[in-house]
Protein backbone atom coordinates (compact mmCIF):
# COMPACT_ATOMS: atom_id res chain seq x y z
CA UNK A 1 0.00 0.00 0.00
CA UNK A 2 1.83 3.04 1.32
CA UNK A 3 5.12 1.25 0.85
CA UNK A 4 4.97 1.49 -2.94
CA UNK A 5 5.37 5.27 -2.83
CA UNK A 6 8.03 7.05 -0.82
CA UNK A 7 6.52 8.91 2.09
CA UNK A 8 6.48 12.66 1.92
CA UNK A 9 7.70 14.69 4.86
CA UNK A 10 4.19 15.48 6.01
CA UNK A 11 3.16 11.84 5.82
CA UNK A 12 6.16 10.91 7.92
CA UNK A 13 5.10 13.33 10.62
CA UNK A 14 1.53 12.05 10.46
CA UNK A 15 2.69 8.46 10.85
CA UNK A 16 4.96 9.37 13.73
CA UNK A 17 2.01 11.04 15.48
CA UNK A 18 -0.29 8.08 14.85
CA UNK A 19 2.30 5.62 16.11
CA UNK A 20 2.88 7.70 19.23
CA UNK A 21 -0.86 7.82 19.98
CA UNK A 22 -1.19 4.04 19.59
CA UNK A 23 1.87 3.38 21.74
CA UNK A 24 0.63 5.65 24.54
CA UNK A 25 -2.84 4.14 24.35
CA UNK A 26 -1.54 0.57 24.47
CA UNK A 27 1.17 1.00 27.08
CA UNK A 28 -0.04 3.74 29.41
CA UNK A 29 -1.97 1.53 31.88
CA UNK A 30 1.07 -0.75 32.09
CA UNK A 31 3.36 2.20 32.83
CA UNK A 32 0.80 3.42 35.34
CA UNK A 33 0.87 0.25 37.42
CA UNK A 34 4.65 0.04 36.96
CA UNK A 35 5.00 3.51 38.50
CA UNK A 36 2.66 2.60 41.35
CA UNK A 37 4.68 -0.53 42.11
CA UNK A 38 7.77 1.59 42.92
CA UNK A 39 5.97 3.93 45.33
CA UNK A 40 6.50 3.87 49.08
CA UNK A 41 3.30 3.55 51.15
CA UNK A 42 3.68 7.20 52.18
CA UNK A 43 3.93 8.15 48.51
CA UNK A 44 0.75 6.44 47.35
CA UNK A 45 -1.78 9.16 48.02
CA UNK A 46 -0.02 12.20 46.63
CA UNK A 47 -1.91 12.24 43.37
CA UNK A 48 1.30 12.07 41.32
CA UNK A 49 1.91 9.65 38.47
CA UNK A 50 5.58 9.02 39.22
CA UNK A 51 6.92 8.06 42.65
CA UNK A 52 8.82 10.83 44.45
CA UNK A 53 11.50 8.33 45.35
CA UNK A 54 11.79 4.95 43.63
CA UNK A 55 11.75 2.03 46.05
CA UNK A 56 11.93 -1.76 45.83
CA UNK A 57 9.92 -2.18 49.07
CA UNK A 58 6.85 -3.59 47.34
CA UNK A 59 8.90 -6.14 45.44
CA UNK A 60 10.61 -7.20 48.67
CA UNK A 61 7.16 -7.75 50.13
CA UNK A 62 6.17 -10.25 47.47
CA UNK A 63 9.54 -11.79 46.58
CA UNK A 64 11.87 -11.17 49.53
CA UNK A 65 12.47 -13.90 52.12
CA UNK A 66 10.71 -11.95 54.89
CA UNK A 67 8.04 -10.41 52.66
CA UNK A 68 4.58 -10.40 54.18
CA UNK A 69 2.93 -11.48 50.92
CA UNK A 70 5.81 -13.67 49.73
CA UNK A 71 4.24 -17.03 50.63
CA UNK A 72 0.90 -16.08 49.07
CA UNK A 73 2.44 -14.70 45.89
CA UNK A 74 5.10 -17.31 45.20
CA UNK A 75 2.73 -20.23 45.75
CA UNK A 76 0.17 -18.65 43.42
CA UNK A 77 2.87 -18.03 40.83
CA UNK A 78 3.88 -21.70 41.03
CA UNK A 79 0.24 -22.74 40.69
CA UNK A 80 -0.41 -20.43 37.74
CA UNK A 81 2.66 -21.52 35.81
CA UNK A 82 2.12 -25.23 36.50
CA UNK A 83 -1.61 -25.31 35.87
CA UNK A 84 -1.46 -23.12 32.74
CA UNK A 85 1.42 -25.11 31.24
CA UNK A 86 -0.24 -28.49 31.85
CA UNK A 87 -3.59 -27.28 30.51
CA UNK A 88 -1.81 -25.83 27.45
CA UNK A 89 0.11 -29.07 26.85
CA UNK A 90 -3.00 -31.26 27.10
CA UNK A 91 -5.11 -29.04 24.89
CA UNK A 92 -2.28 -28.71 22.33
CA UNK A 93 -1.96 -32.49 22.00
CA UNK A 94 -5.71 -33.09 21.78
CA UNK A 95 -6.22 -30.17 19.40
CA UNK A 96 -3.33 -31.21 17.15
CA UNK A 97 -4.79 -34.69 16.71
CA UNK A 98 -8.29 -33.32 16.14
CA UNK A 99 -7.17 -30.60 13.73
CA UNK A 100 -5.07 -33.07 11.76
CA UNK A 101 -8.10 -35.31 11.36
CA UNK A 102 -10.37 -32.41 10.40
CA UNK A 103 -7.93 -30.90 7.92
CA UNK A 104 -6.74 -34.12 6.32
CA UNK A 105 -9.26 -36.90 6.66
CA UNK A 106 -12.67 -37.17 5.14
CA UNK A 107 -15.01 -38.36 7.84
CA UNK A 108 -18.56 -37.58 8.89
CA UNK A 109 -18.59 -35.38 11.95
CA UNK A 110 -15.84 -32.93 11.01
CA UNK A 111 -18.39 -30.16 10.93
CA UNK A 112 -19.98 -31.35 14.17
CA UNK A 113 -16.64 -31.11 15.98
CA UNK A 114 -15.95 -27.60 14.68
CA UNK A 115 -19.46 -26.47 15.58
CA UNK A 116 -19.09 -27.95 19.05
CA UNK A 117 -15.81 -26.09 19.50
CA UNK A 118 -17.54 -22.88 18.45
CA UNK A 119 -20.39 -23.53 20.89
CA UNK A 120 -18.00 -24.25 23.75
CA UNK A 121 -16.02 -21.09 23.05
CA UNK A 122 -19.08 -18.87 23.51
CA UNK A 123 -20.21 -20.69 26.63
CA UNK A 124 -20.60 -18.44 29.68
CA UNK A 125 -17.94 -19.72 32.06
CA UNK A 126 -19.92 -18.77 35.14
CA UNK A 127 -22.77 -21.08 34.08
CA UNK A 128 -20.65 -24.16 34.57
CA UNK A 129 -18.88 -22.96 37.69
CA UNK A 130 -21.78 -23.74 40.06
CA UNK A 131 -22.15 -27.42 39.11
CA UNK A 132 -18.37 -27.88 38.98
CA UNK A 133 -17.99 -26.28 42.40
CA UNK A 134 -20.52 -28.71 43.83
CA UNK A 135 -19.13 -31.74 42.00
CA UNK A 136 -15.48 -30.95 42.76
CA UNK A 137 -16.30 -30.70 46.48
CA UNK A 138 -17.91 -34.10 46.53
CA UNK A 139 -15.21 -35.92 44.54
CA UNK A 140 -12.22 -34.18 46.12
CA UNK A 141 -11.07 -32.09 43.14
CA UNK A 142 -11.91 -28.79 44.84
CA UNK A 143 -8.78 -26.72 45.48
CA UNK A 144 -6.46 -29.04 43.51
CA UNK A 145 -4.45 -28.60 40.30
CA UNK A 146 -6.55 -31.09 38.25
CA UNK A 147 -9.63 -29.25 39.53
CA UNK A 148 -8.49 -26.21 37.51
CA UNK A 149 -6.73 -27.98 34.63
CA UNK A 150 -9.91 -29.80 33.58
CA UNK A 151 -12.14 -26.70 33.32
CA UNK A 152 -9.27 -24.76 31.67
CA UNK A 153 -9.57 -27.20 28.76
CA UNK A 154 -13.01 -25.72 28.06
CA UNK A 155 -11.26 -22.38 27.49
CA UNK A 156 -8.19 -23.54 25.58
CA UNK A 157 -9.43 -26.48 23.47
CA UNK A 158 -11.96 -24.73 21.19
CA UNK A 159 -9.67 -21.92 20.05
CA UNK A 160 -6.79 -24.40 19.66
CA UNK A 161 -8.87 -26.64 17.41
CA UNK A 162 -10.01 -23.72 15.22
CA UNK A 163 -6.60 -22.13 14.92
CA UNK A 164 -4.80 -25.39 14.19
CA UNK A 165 -7.39 -26.53 11.67
CA UNK A 166 -6.87 -23.28 9.78
CA UNK A 167 -3.10 -23.78 9.94
CA UNK A 168 -3.17 -27.41 8.87
CA UNK A 169 -5.42 -26.67 5.90
CA UNK A 170 -2.65 -24.56 4.43
CA UNK A 171 0.02 -27.22 4.69
CA UNK A 172 0.83 -28.81 1.32
CA UNK A 173 0.37 -32.39 2.45
CA UNK A 174 1.46 -33.70 -0.97
CA UNK A 175 5.02 -33.07 0.20
CA UNK A 176 4.74 -36.09 2.43
CA UNK A 177 3.86 -38.41 -0.43
CA UNK A 178 6.43 -36.73 -2.64
CA UNK A 179 9.11 -37.48 -0.08
CA UNK A 180 7.95 -41.08 0.09
CA UNK A 181 8.14 -41.37 -3.66
CA UNK A 182 11.69 -40.06 -3.36
CA UNK A 183 12.49 -42.99 -1.08
CA UNK A 184 11.85 -41.70 2.41
CA UNK A 185 10.11 -43.96 4.90
CA UNK A 186 6.69 -42.95 6.21
CA UNK A 187 8.20 -41.71 9.45
CA UNK A 188 11.02 -39.84 7.70
CA UNK A 189 8.57 -38.25 5.31
CA UNK A 190 6.40 -37.10 8.20
CA UNK A 191 9.34 -35.83 10.24
CA UNK A 192 11.26 -34.12 7.47
CA UNK A 193 8.43 -32.77 5.35
CA UNK A 194 5.44 -32.21 7.61
CA UNK A 195 6.75 -31.50 11.11
CA UNK A 196 8.74 -28.39 10.09
CA UNK A 197 5.60 -27.00 8.43
CA UNK A 198 3.21 -27.91 11.24
CA UNK A 199 5.38 -27.02 14.23
CA UNK A 200 5.02 -23.22 13.98
CA UNK A 201 1.24 -23.56 13.94
CA UNK A 202 1.25 -25.81 16.98
CA UNK A 203 3.61 -23.46 18.79
CA UNK A 204 1.51 -20.37 18.02
CA UNK A 205 -1.64 -22.14 19.13
CA UNK A 206 0.00 -23.22 22.37
CA UNK A 207 1.07 -19.64 22.99
CA UNK A 208 -2.48 -18.34 22.58
CA UNK A 209 -3.86 -21.15 24.75
CA UNK A 210 -1.32 -20.29 27.44
CA UNK A 211 -2.38 -16.63 27.44
CA UNK A 212 -6.00 -17.71 27.91
CA UNK A 213 -5.25 -20.10 30.77
CA UNK A 214 -2.91 -17.54 32.40
CA UNK A 215 -5.70 -14.94 32.27
CA UNK A 216 -8.47 -17.00 33.92
CA UNK A 217 -10.07 -15.51 37.00
CA UNK A 218 -13.58 -17.02 37.31
CA UNK A 219 -12.49 -20.64 37.73
CA UNK A 220 -9.47 -19.64 39.79
CA UNK A 221 -11.51 -17.76 42.35
CA UNK A 222 -14.45 -20.21 42.46
CA UNK A 223 -12.75 -23.59 42.53
CA UNK A 224 -9.87 -22.91 44.93
CA UNK A 225 -9.71 -21.82 48.55
CA UNK A 226 -6.07 -22.07 49.65
CA UNK A 227 -2.52 -21.71 48.43
CA UNK A 228 -2.65 -25.34 47.26
CA UNK A 229 -4.07 -24.36 43.88
CA UNK A 230 -5.00 -20.67 43.84
CA UNK A 231 -3.62 -19.03 40.66
CA UNK A 232 -2.18 -15.50 40.46
CA UNK A 233 -5.27 -13.55 39.29
CA UNK A 234 -7.32 -14.98 42.16
CA UNK A 235 -4.48 -14.45 44.65
CA UNK A 236 -4.20 -10.77 43.66
CA UNK A 237 -7.80 -10.28 44.75
CA UNK A 238 -6.94 -11.77 48.16
CA UNK A 239 -3.81 -9.74 48.85
CA UNK A 240 -3.73 -7.81 52.08
CA UNK A 241 -1.25 -5.20 53.28
CA UNK A 242 1.74 -5.74 55.53
CA UNK A 243 -0.55 -5.10 58.45
CA UNK A 244 -4.31 -5.03 58.46
CA UNK A 245 -4.20 -1.23 58.54
CA UNK A 246 -2.10 -0.98 55.43
CA UNK A 247 -3.37 -0.89 51.88
CA UNK A 248 -2.15 -3.75 49.67
CA UNK A 249 -1.91 -1.31 46.73
CA UNK A 250 1.89 -1.44 46.48
CA UNK A 251 2.17 -5.21 46.84
CA UNK A 252 -0.60 -5.85 44.31
CA UNK A 253 1.02 -3.47 41.80
CA UNK A 254 4.40 -5.15 42.20
CA UNK A 255 2.84 -8.60 41.76
CA UNK A 256 0.90 -7.36 38.73
CA UNK A 257 4.14 -6.13 37.16
CA UNK A 258 5.90 -9.43 37.83
CA UNK A 259 3.17 -11.47 36.11
CA UNK A 260 3.01 -9.00 33.21
CA UNK A 261 6.73 -9.35 32.39
CA UNK A 262 6.40 -12.82 30.79
CA UNK A 263 3.48 -11.57 28.70
CA UNK A 264 5.51 -8.62 27.40
CA UNK A 265 8.51 -10.86 26.67
CA UNK A 266 6.40 -13.40 24.75
CA UNK A 267 4.70 -10.62 22.79
CA UNK A 268 8.04 -9.02 21.90
CA UNK A 269 9.48 -12.34 20.74
CA UNK A 270 6.49 -13.78 18.92
CA UNK A 271 4.44 -10.81 17.74
CA UNK A 272 4.21 -12.07 14.17
CA UNK A 273 3.16 -15.61 15.14
CA UNK A 274 0.52 -14.47 17.63
CA UNK A 275 -1.07 -12.12 15.09
CA UNK A 276 -1.15 -14.78 12.38
CA UNK A 277 -2.58 -17.32 14.82
CA UNK A 278 -5.34 -15.02 16.01
CA UNK A 279 -6.33 -13.90 12.53
CA UNK A 280 -6.11 -17.36 10.94
CA UNK A 281 -8.36 -18.99 13.46
CA UNK A 282 -10.82 -16.18 13.07
CA UNK A 283 -11.36 -15.24 9.46
CA UNK A 284 -9.73 -17.37 6.85
CA UNK A 285 -8.73 -15.72 3.61
Amino acid sequence: MGATKALTGRQKIAWAAITLVVLVWALFPVLSILATSFKLPSDLNTGNFLPTSWSWTNYEQILGPDGSAQELFLSSLRNSIGISLIATAISSVLATLAAYAIARLDFPGRKLILTTALGVSIFPVISIVTPLFNLWRSIGLYDTWPGLIIPYLSLTLPISIWTLTAFFRQIPWELEQAAQVDGATTWQAFRKAIVPLAAPGVFTTALIAFFIAWNDFVYGISLTSTEAARPVPAALAFFSGASQFEDPTGAISAAAVVVTIPVVVLVLLFQRQIVSGLTQGAVKG
Binding site: G2, V22, L23, W25, A26, P29, V30, I33, L44, N45, G47, N48, F49, L94, A95, L97, Y100, A101, I102, L105, D106, G109, R110, L114, T116, L118, I122, F123, P124, I126, S127, I128, V129, N134, L135, S154, L157, I161, W162, R169, W173, E174, Q177, A179, V181, N215, F217, V218, P233, L236, A256, V263, V264, Q271, V275, L278, G281, A282, V283, K284
Partner: protein, 328 residues
Amino acid sequence: MSTEITGATAGVTAQATRGAGPGRASKPRKSDRARAEARLGWWLAGPAFVVMLAVTAYPILQAVYDSLFRYRLTAPDDRGFVGLANYGVVLGDPVFWQSLGVTTLIMVITVAIELVLGFALALVMHRAVLRLRGLLRTAILVPYGIITVVSAFAWFYAFDINSGYVNSWFSWVPGISEDLNWFAGTGTSLFVIIASEVWKTTPFISLLLLAGLAQVPGDLEEAAQVDGATWWQRMKRVVLPNMKAAIMVAVLFRALDAFRIFDNVFIMTNGANGTTVLSLLAYRTSIGRLEIGLGSAISVLLFFCVIIICFIAIKIFKVDLAGARGEK
Protein backbone atom coordinates in the same frame (compact mmCIF):
# COMPACT_ATOMS: atom_id res chain seq x y z
CA MET B 1 16.26 -31.63 -4.59
CA SER B 2 13.30 -29.36 -4.38
CA THR B 3 12.61 -29.67 -8.08
CA GLU B 4 12.55 -33.43 -7.74
CA ILE B 5 9.95 -33.17 -5.03
CA THR B 6 7.87 -30.79 -7.09
CA GLY B 7 8.10 -33.10 -10.06
CA ALA B 8 7.04 -36.08 -8.02
CA THR B 9 4.27 -34.02 -6.46
CA ALA B 10 2.49 -33.66 -9.75
CA GLY B 11 2.16 -37.42 -9.99
CA VAL B 12 0.50 -37.83 -6.66
CA THR B 13 -1.56 -34.66 -6.58
CA ALA B 14 -4.64 -36.40 -7.84
CA GLN B 15 -4.53 -38.66 -4.85
CA ALA B 16 -3.31 -36.10 -2.36
CA THR B 17 -5.77 -33.29 -3.02
CA ARG B 18 -8.51 -35.56 -1.76
CA GLY B 19 -7.98 -34.02 1.66
CA ALA B 20 -8.56 -30.46 0.51
CA GLY B 21 -10.90 -28.49 -1.70
CA PRO B 22 -13.84 -29.66 -3.71
CA GLY B 23 -12.65 -33.25 -4.27
CA ARG B 24 -13.78 -34.17 -0.78
CA ALA B 25 -16.96 -36.12 -1.38
CA SER B 26 -16.09 -39.75 -0.83
CA LYS B 27 -16.90 -42.08 -3.67
CA PRO B 28 -19.25 -44.90 -2.76
CA ARG B 29 -16.93 -47.51 -4.30
CA LYS B 30 -14.20 -46.89 -1.76
CA SER B 31 -16.49 -47.72 1.13
CA ASP B 32 -13.93 -49.85 2.98
CA ARG B 33 -11.37 -47.16 2.73
CA ALA B 34 -13.88 -44.47 3.65
CA ARG B 35 -14.89 -46.45 6.68
CA ALA B 36 -11.27 -46.85 7.78
CA GLU B 37 -10.73 -43.13 7.28
CA ALA B 38 -13.83 -42.29 9.32
CA ARG B 39 -12.66 -44.58 12.10
CA LEU B 40 -9.20 -43.01 12.13
CA GLY B 41 -10.76 -39.54 12.08
CA TRP B 42 -12.85 -40.25 15.14
CA TRP B 43 -9.94 -41.89 16.93
CA LEU B 44 -7.92 -38.73 16.44
CA ALA B 45 -10.60 -36.10 16.98
CA GLY B 46 -12.72 -38.06 19.43
CA PRO B 47 -10.75 -37.30 22.62
CA ALA B 48 -10.93 -33.53 22.04
CA PHE B 49 -14.64 -33.82 21.24
CA VAL B 50 -15.40 -35.89 24.35
CA VAL B 51 -13.38 -33.56 26.61
CA MET B 52 -15.18 -30.50 25.25
CA LEU B 53 -18.57 -32.07 25.90
CA ALA B 54 -17.55 -33.36 29.32
CA VAL B 55 -16.44 -29.96 30.57
CA THR B 56 -19.44 -28.00 29.27
CA ALA B 57 -22.46 -30.09 28.30
CA TYR B 58 -22.38 -32.19 31.43
CA PRO B 59 -22.12 -29.25 33.88
CA ILE B 60 -24.86 -27.26 32.16
CA LEU B 61 -27.20 -30.26 32.30
CA GLN B 62 -26.33 -30.65 35.96
CA ALA B 63 -27.10 -26.95 36.45
CA VAL B 64 -30.50 -27.37 34.79
CA TYR B 65 -31.21 -30.31 37.14
CA ASP B 66 -29.97 -28.50 40.27
CA SER B 67 -32.02 -25.44 39.40
CA LEU B 68 -35.20 -27.46 39.97
CA PHE B 69 -34.34 -28.10 43.61
CA ARG B 70 -34.41 -26.15 46.83
CA TYR B 71 -30.74 -26.71 47.63
CA ARG B 72 -28.32 -24.81 49.84
CA LEU B 73 -24.98 -26.20 50.90
CA THR B 74 -25.48 -24.64 54.33
CA ALA B 75 -28.52 -26.90 54.82
CA PRO B 76 -27.98 -29.88 52.52
CA ASP B 77 -30.62 -32.07 54.23
CA ASP B 78 -33.32 -29.58 53.38
CA ARG B 79 -32.94 -30.41 49.65
CA GLY B 80 -36.25 -30.86 47.87
CA PHE B 81 -37.80 -30.67 44.40
CA VAL B 82 -39.46 -27.31 43.80
CA GLY B 83 -40.01 -27.35 40.04
CA LEU B 84 -39.59 -23.94 38.48
CA ALA B 85 -39.91 -22.05 41.78
CA ASN B 86 -36.24 -20.97 41.73
CA TYR B 87 -36.78 -19.33 38.34
CA GLY B 88 -39.83 -17.59 39.81
CA VAL B 89 -37.70 -16.23 42.66
CA VAL B 90 -34.94 -15.03 40.33
CA LEU B 91 -37.25 -13.50 37.73
CA GLY B 92 -39.33 -11.84 40.44
CA ASP B 93 -36.27 -10.20 41.96
CA PRO B 94 -35.55 -6.64 40.75
CA VAL B 95 -31.83 -7.30 41.39
CA PHE B 96 -31.81 -9.81 38.52
CA TRP B 97 -33.42 -7.37 36.09
CA GLN B 98 -31.09 -4.60 37.17
CA SER B 99 -28.06 -6.87 36.62
CA LEU B 100 -29.40 -7.86 33.22
CA GLY B 101 -29.82 -4.17 32.38
CA VAL B 102 -26.31 -3.22 33.53
CA THR B 103 -24.77 -6.21 31.72
CA THR B 104 -26.58 -5.32 28.50
CA LEU B 105 -25.59 -1.67 28.85
CA ILE B 106 -21.92 -2.57 29.34
CA MET B 107 -22.08 -4.96 26.39
CA VAL B 108 -23.64 -2.44 23.99
CA ILE B 109 -21.35 0.46 24.95
CA THR B 110 -18.14 -1.60 24.96
CA VAL B 111 -18.83 -3.26 21.63
CA ALA B 112 -19.80 0.06 20.00
CA ILE B 113 -16.62 1.80 21.21
CA GLU B 114 -14.43 -1.18 20.39
CA LEU B 115 -15.83 -1.49 16.89
CA VAL B 116 -14.88 2.11 16.07
CA LEU B 117 -11.53 2.03 17.88
CA GLY B 118 -10.72 -1.44 16.62
CA PHE B 119 -11.49 -0.47 13.04
CA ALA B 120 -9.31 2.62 13.31
CA LEU B 121 -6.47 0.50 14.71
CA ALA B 122 -6.94 -2.11 11.99
CA LEU B 123 -6.77 0.60 9.31
CA VAL B 124 -3.60 2.01 10.86
CA MET B 125 -1.97 -1.43 10.95
CA HIS B 126 -3.16 -2.21 7.42
CA ARG B 127 -1.71 0.99 5.97
CA ALA B 128 1.45 1.25 8.02
CA VAL B 129 4.81 0.69 6.35
CA LEU B 130 6.41 -2.60 7.24
CA ARG B 131 8.78 -1.22 9.84
CA LEU B 132 6.02 0.47 11.81
CA ARG B 133 3.66 -2.46 11.43
CA GLY B 134 5.74 -4.69 13.70
CA LEU B 135 6.01 -1.98 16.34
CA LEU B 136 2.27 -1.25 16.26
CA ARG B 137 1.30 -4.91 16.45
CA THR B 138 3.67 -5.54 19.35
CA ALA B 139 2.22 -2.57 21.23
CA ILE B 140 -1.40 -3.60 20.81
CA LEU B 141 -0.65 -7.20 21.74
CA VAL B 142 0.36 -6.05 25.23
CA PRO B 143 -3.22 -5.30 26.31
CA TYR B 144 -4.33 -8.51 24.59
CA GLY B 145 -1.90 -10.65 26.57
CA ILE B 146 -2.15 -8.90 29.91
CA ILE B 147 -4.22 -10.51 32.67
CA THR B 148 -7.67 -8.89 32.90
CA VAL B 149 -7.33 -8.63 36.68
CA VAL B 150 -4.07 -6.71 36.23
CA SER B 151 -5.76 -4.35 33.80
CA ALA B 152 -8.58 -3.87 36.31
CA PHE B 153 -6.11 -2.97 39.07
CA ALA B 154 -4.17 -0.61 36.80
CA TRP B 155 -7.30 1.35 35.90
CA PHE B 156 -8.66 1.14 39.43
CA TYR B 157 -5.52 2.59 41.03
CA ALA B 158 -5.30 5.34 38.41
CA PHE B 159 -8.85 6.55 39.18
CA ASP B 160 -9.01 5.68 42.87
CA ILE B 161 -9.57 8.69 45.11
CA ASN B 162 -6.61 7.77 47.33
CA SER B 163 -3.93 6.34 45.08
CA GLY B 164 -5.08 7.82 41.78
CA TYR B 165 -3.69 10.69 39.73
CA VAL B 166 -6.57 11.11 37.28
CA ASN B 167 -8.40 13.56 39.55
CA SER B 168 -5.40 15.86 39.89
CA TRP B 169 -4.54 15.61 36.17
CA PHE B 170 -8.04 16.34 34.95
CA SER B 171 -9.29 18.69 37.65
CA TRP B 172 -9.77 21.35 34.95
CA VAL B 173 -12.51 19.23 33.35
CA PRO B 174 -15.95 20.29 34.63
CA GLY B 175 -17.29 17.64 37.00
CA ILE B 176 -13.87 16.27 37.96
CA SER B 177 -12.27 17.55 41.13
CA GLU B 178 -9.75 16.37 43.72
CA ASP B 179 -12.46 14.72 45.78
CA LEU B 180 -14.45 12.98 43.06
CA ASN B 181 -14.85 9.38 44.18
CA TRP B 182 -15.25 7.50 40.89
CA PHE B 183 -16.28 4.29 42.61
CA ALA B 184 -19.06 5.80 44.70
CA GLY B 185 -21.53 6.29 41.85
CA THR B 186 -23.00 3.97 39.22
CA GLY B 187 -22.18 6.07 36.17
CA THR B 188 -18.61 6.90 37.12
CA SER B 189 -17.89 3.30 38.20
CA LEU B 190 -19.23 1.97 34.93
CA PHE B 191 -17.11 4.51 33.05
CA VAL B 192 -13.87 3.10 34.51
CA ILE B 193 -15.04 -0.53 34.19
CA ILE B 194 -15.86 0.02 30.52
CA ALA B 195 -12.56 1.86 29.96
CA SER B 196 -10.59 -1.11 31.31
CA GLU B 197 -12.66 -3.61 29.32
CA VAL B 198 -12.26 -1.59 26.12
CA TRP B 199 -8.52 -1.21 26.60
CA LYS B 200 -8.01 -4.91 27.23
CA THR B 201 -10.15 -6.31 24.41
CA THR B 202 -9.97 -3.80 21.54
CA PRO B 203 -6.76 -5.45 20.22
CA PHE B 204 -8.65 -8.70 19.67
CA ILE B 205 -11.46 -7.09 17.67
CA SER B 206 -8.96 -5.00 15.69
CA LEU B 207 -7.00 -8.12 14.68
CA LEU B 208 -10.22 -9.77 13.49
CA LEU B 209 -11.01 -6.62 11.49
CA LEU B 210 -7.45 -6.51 10.14
CA ALA B 211 -7.96 -10.01 8.76
CA GLY B 212 -11.21 -8.77 7.20
CA LEU B 213 -9.46 -5.75 5.65
CA ALA B 214 -6.91 -8.03 4.04
CA GLN B 215 -9.74 -9.75 2.18
CA VAL B 216 -10.96 -6.58 0.48
CA PRO B 217 -9.73 -6.73 -3.12
CA GLY B 218 -7.14 -3.97 -3.58
CA ASP B 219 -7.94 -3.38 -7.26
CA LEU B 220 -11.58 -2.57 -6.42
CA GLU B 221 -10.44 0.16 -4.09
CA GLU B 222 -7.96 1.49 -6.63
CA ALA B 223 -10.61 1.51 -9.33
CA ALA B 224 -12.87 3.53 -7.06
CA GLN B 225 -10.03 5.95 -6.41
CA VAL B 226 -9.38 6.35 -10.14
CA ASP B 227 -13.08 7.08 -10.60
CA GLY B 228 -12.66 9.98 -8.19
CA ALA B 229 -14.31 8.51 -5.11
CA THR B 230 -13.43 10.27 -1.86
CA TRP B 231 -11.90 8.38 1.06
CA TRP B 232 -15.23 8.24 2.82
CA GLN B 233 -17.03 7.01 -0.32
CA ARG B 234 -14.45 4.28 -0.81
CA MET B 235 -14.89 3.18 2.80
CA LYS B 236 -18.67 3.14 2.60
CA ARG B 237 -19.10 1.67 -0.87
CA VAL B 238 -16.11 -0.64 -1.28
CA VAL B 239 -14.30 -1.52 1.94
CA LEU B 240 -17.13 -1.93 4.45
CA PRO B 241 -19.48 -4.00 2.22
CA ASN B 242 -16.59 -6.33 1.39
CA MET B 243 -15.75 -7.00 4.99
CA LYS B 244 -19.26 -7.19 6.34
CA ALA B 245 -18.86 -10.85 7.33
CA ALA B 246 -15.69 -10.16 9.30
CA ILE B 247 -17.32 -7.22 11.10
CA MET B 248 -20.38 -9.27 12.03
CA VAL B 249 -18.31 -12.14 13.41
CA ALA B 250 -16.06 -9.78 15.37
CA VAL B 251 -19.07 -7.99 16.86
CA LEU B 252 -20.84 -11.21 17.82
CA PHE B 253 -17.75 -12.69 19.45
CA ARG B 254 -16.99 -9.56 21.41
CA ALA B 255 -20.65 -9.10 22.37
CA LEU B 256 -20.83 -12.61 23.82
CA ASP B 257 -17.53 -12.06 25.58
CA ALA B 258 -18.63 -8.69 27.01
CA PHE B 259 -21.88 -10.23 28.21
CA ARG B 260 -19.84 -12.54 30.44
CA ILE B 261 -17.93 -9.62 32.03
CA PHE B 262 -16.81 -10.52 35.54
CA ASP B 263 -13.14 -9.78 36.35
CA ASN B 264 -13.23 -5.99 35.95
CA VAL B 265 -16.41 -5.57 37.99
CA PHE B 266 -15.27 -7.94 40.71
CA ILE B 267 -11.96 -6.10 41.23
CA MET B 268 -13.19 -2.52 40.93
CA THR B 269 -16.54 -2.39 42.69
CA ASN B 270 -17.50 -5.97 43.54
CA GLY B 271 -20.97 -5.00 42.38
CA ALA B 272 -21.43 -1.99 44.66
CA ASN B 273 -23.58 0.99 43.63
CA GLY B 274 -25.70 -0.85 41.12
CA THR B 275 -22.82 -2.27 39.09
CA THR B 276 -23.67 -5.95 39.70
CA VAL B 277 -23.51 -7.85 36.43
CA LEU B 278 -25.14 -11.22 35.75
CA SER B 279 -21.95 -13.28 36.15
CA LEU B 280 -21.24 -11.64 39.48
CA LEU B 281 -24.81 -12.25 40.64
CA ALA B 282 -24.50 -15.95 39.77
CA TYR B 283 -21.11 -16.14 41.48
CA ARG B 284 -22.33 -14.48 44.65
CA THR B 285 -25.45 -16.62 44.86
CA SER B 286 -23.80 -20.00 44.41
CA ILE B 287 -20.18 -19.58 45.55
CA GLY B 288 -20.70 -16.74 48.03
CA ARG B 289 -24.00 -17.73 49.63
CA LEU B 290 -23.84 -21.43 48.70
CA GLU B 291 -27.39 -21.35 47.30
CA ILE B 292 -26.82 -24.00 44.64
CA GLY B 293 -30.47 -24.15 43.54
CA LEU B 294 -30.90 -20.42 43.00
CA GLY B 295 -27.38 -19.99 41.63
CA SER B 296 -27.98 -22.75 39.09
CA ALA B 297 -31.19 -21.04 37.99
CA ILE B 298 -29.26 -17.79 37.35
CA SER B 299 -26.56 -19.77 35.50
CA VAL B 300 -29.16 -21.39 33.26
CA LEU B 301 -30.81 -18.02 32.58
CA LEU B 302 -27.42 -16.53 31.70
CA PHE B 303 -26.83 -19.42 29.32
CA PHE B 304 -30.21 -18.73 27.68
CA CYS B 305 -29.31 -15.06 27.27
CA VAL B 306 -26.19 -16.07 25.36
CA ILE B 307 -28.21 -18.42 23.16
CA ILE B 308 -30.73 -15.65 22.47
CA ILE B 309 -27.96 -13.22 21.47
CA CYS B 310 -26.54 -15.87 19.12
CA PHE B 311 -29.98 -16.59 17.71
CA ILE B 312 -30.65 -12.90 17.05
CA ALA B 313 -27.25 -12.49 15.41
CA ILE B 314 -27.60 -15.53 13.18
CA LYS B 315 -31.28 -15.22 12.25
CA ILE B 316 -31.76 -11.46 12.10
CA PHE B 317 -28.31 -10.16 11.21
CA LYS B 318 -27.47 -13.30 9.19
CA VAL B 319 -24.02 -13.74 10.71
CA ASP B 320 -22.47 -16.69 8.96
CA LEU B 321 -20.22 -17.96 11.74
CA ALA B 322 -19.13 -21.18 10.08
CA GLY B 323 -18.57 -19.59 6.68
CA ALA B 324 -16.59 -16.65 8.00
CA ARG B 325 -14.52 -18.95 10.17
CA GLY B 326 -13.35 -20.93 7.22
CA GLU B 327 -15.68 -23.92 7.34
CA LYS B 328 -17.86 -24.30 4.28
